[in-house]
């Protein structure tokens, strides 16, 4: 089991707060929307990942437990 971030692209409105809080895992595209690195979040960054999830104003960001990595888009 590992933890991965996913985003619901319908709900996300591109505030970009998540990318500021977790730049190693979330970058912004040319339009300001987050590109999520589908790789597992290492243990020492889990607290930061949870903080990013909590600070997303529209609750678009999620932390998921997965045996195989999702593609970064919540589906």
């Amino acid at each position: 089991m590992s933890s991965h971030l996913t985003v619901d692209p319908i709900v996300c409105d591109g505030h970009g707060i998540c990318a500021e809080l977790l730049p190693e895992h979330i970058t912004l595209d040319d339009w300001g929307f987050p590109i999520i690195n589908p790789a597992a979040i290492p243990g020492h960054r889990l607290a930061d990942a949870r903080r990013a999830v909590k600070h997303c104003p529209v609750l678009a960001l999620r932390l998921r437990q997965a045996t195989s990595p999702p593609d970064g888009v919540a589906k």
Partner: protein
């Protein structure tokens, strides 16, 4: 419907097997029963037959039908089956022709699929505003005298046929995709099997004649026949029923193709293949996969040497942007910018940075929507930039003398209400 003509060449890969299978039917119930006999009751072995027949979905993604059926059947509770005949690909006519010529095969398949997943609602969806198709379907429903299948008509938009959007429409929404997968939570919030109408027609044949018969034509990986729509620079466009594994060039000759410069396989959701590759290609996934291609929804569009490809690319890119549901950032803004930049490439004084920028954006957008609509735009543009690289260079150097022809139709989507 862009192509209404129906030609079904009789081609076989096994002696004694005759084609067409789907398009020789009906359209009326008496002719249908005379040819195929009455609908057999759903036996306990049908799912096994379906699996052995190796049927794959004909809506574009070629997913294993038996697996989809199983996941809905085992989801528990009351379920729903949707026959997807919305066919929003502008060049595709195969579902319209099938529903007009063999509506009873589709309705048989819908009834069988409903039995397989234990559904108590069956819904046949077609795009509204096509009196020929709607008339044929209504006639077939009344001939059967059954109240079981509901007819649902969808707005004239590409996205109406996307399964999440279709479920949203049936549930009374505007037809914008939600993230929920239909087989988990679909119509009325229940597990829903969404199958293309051609897939269901094949199911009706498999139930009657069995998997061995089904495999008498086609290839091991892609058994049976498939409906294709041939369009573009051909003198005899139309819908053909072909055995999987047939040579693409033979089909193109049947359709009266010019000497193609390139062929678009799978419709606007598909990919371009340059002329140099065509002689290798057969109409089955193993052959197409080697070249990074697939048959998709079965649209095969030919582009000739005299038509400006960049102008066609620009119109299709603009069409994709107009068809976005405007919900996801990368799709809404990404497709808009792809459209603007592709259009600028075809206009006076194009920017030499444009092809590189388009590729970068394509990579950035791919896979980032809630549905796969943007992925279609990305595949179309990436392969177009590759296959038409020489012409793109001509545009950048100030001159492409080819005609701007509007070969690929780009109907405006019905507005969202």
């Amino acid at each position: 419907m862009t192509a209404t003509a129906t030609r079904a060449p009789v081609i076989t890969t096994t002696p004694g097997a005759t084609l067409p299978r789907l398009l020789a039917d009906g359209p009326d119930l008496r002719a249908h029963v005379a040819r195929h006999g009455p609908l057999p009751p759903t036996s306990s072995g049908l799912l096994m037959s379906l699996e052995q027949a190796g049927l794959k979905g004909r809506g574009g993604a070629a997913f294993c039908t038996a697996r989809k059926v199983t996941s809905v059947a085992t989801a528990g509770g009351e379920t729903v089956v949707v026959a997807n005949g919305s066919e929003g690909e502008p060049l595709s006519a195969k579902d319209k022709v099938l529903l007009t010529k063999a509506p009873h095969l589709v309705l048989d398949g819908l009834a069988l699929a409903a039995d397989l997943v234990g559904a108590d609602r069956r819904i046949l969806c077609i795009e509204r505003g096509n009196p020929v198709v709607e008339g044929a379907v209504r006639r077939a429903l009344s001939e059967r005298g059954e109240s079981g299948a509901e007819l649902f008509t969808t707005p004239r938009r590409y996205l109406s046929g996307q399964e999440n959007a279709l479920v949203d429409l049936i549930n009374g929404g505007r037809g914008k995709p939600a993230l929920d997968r239909p087989f988990v939570r679909g119509v009325d919030g229940r597990p829903t099997l969404v199958d293309n109408v051609e897939t269901l027609a094949h199911l009706a044949l498999i139930a009657r004649y069995g998997p061995r018969w089904y495999r008498e034509v086609g290839t091991a990986e892609d058994p049976g026949t498939t409906l294709v729509t041939v369009a573009g620079s051909v003198s005899r466009p139309g819908v053909f029923e072909v055995a999987h594994g047939w040579h693409l060039e033979e089909l193109l000759a049947h359709a009266g193709s010019c000497k193609p410069r390139a062929v678009l396989l799978g419709g606007y959701y598909g990919r371009w293949a340059g002329a140099g590759k065509l002689s290798e290609l057969r109409l089955d996934s193993a052959s197409l996969r080697r070249e990074g291609l697939s048959l998709g929804c079965g649209v095969i569009a030919v582009l000739d040497d005299a038509t400006c490809a960049v102008a066609e690319m620009a119109r299709v890119a603009t069409w994709f942007a107009a068809n976005s549901a405007g919900q996801c950032g990368a799709c809404t803004w990404g497709l808009r910018d792809l459209a603007h930049t592709t259009s600028a490439l075809g206009a006076d004084g194009p920017d030499s940075q444009s092809p590189g920028r388009l590729m970068r954006w394509a990579n950035m957008i791919d896979g980032r929507g809630a549905c796969r609509l943007p992925d279609g735009a990305v595949a179309f543009l990436r392969t177009a930039l590759e296959v038409f690289a020489d012409e793109v260079q001509e545009h950048l150097e100030g001159g492409c003398s080819r005609a701007r022809r509007h070969l690929l139709p780009t109907p405006a989507p019905e507005p969202w209400v």
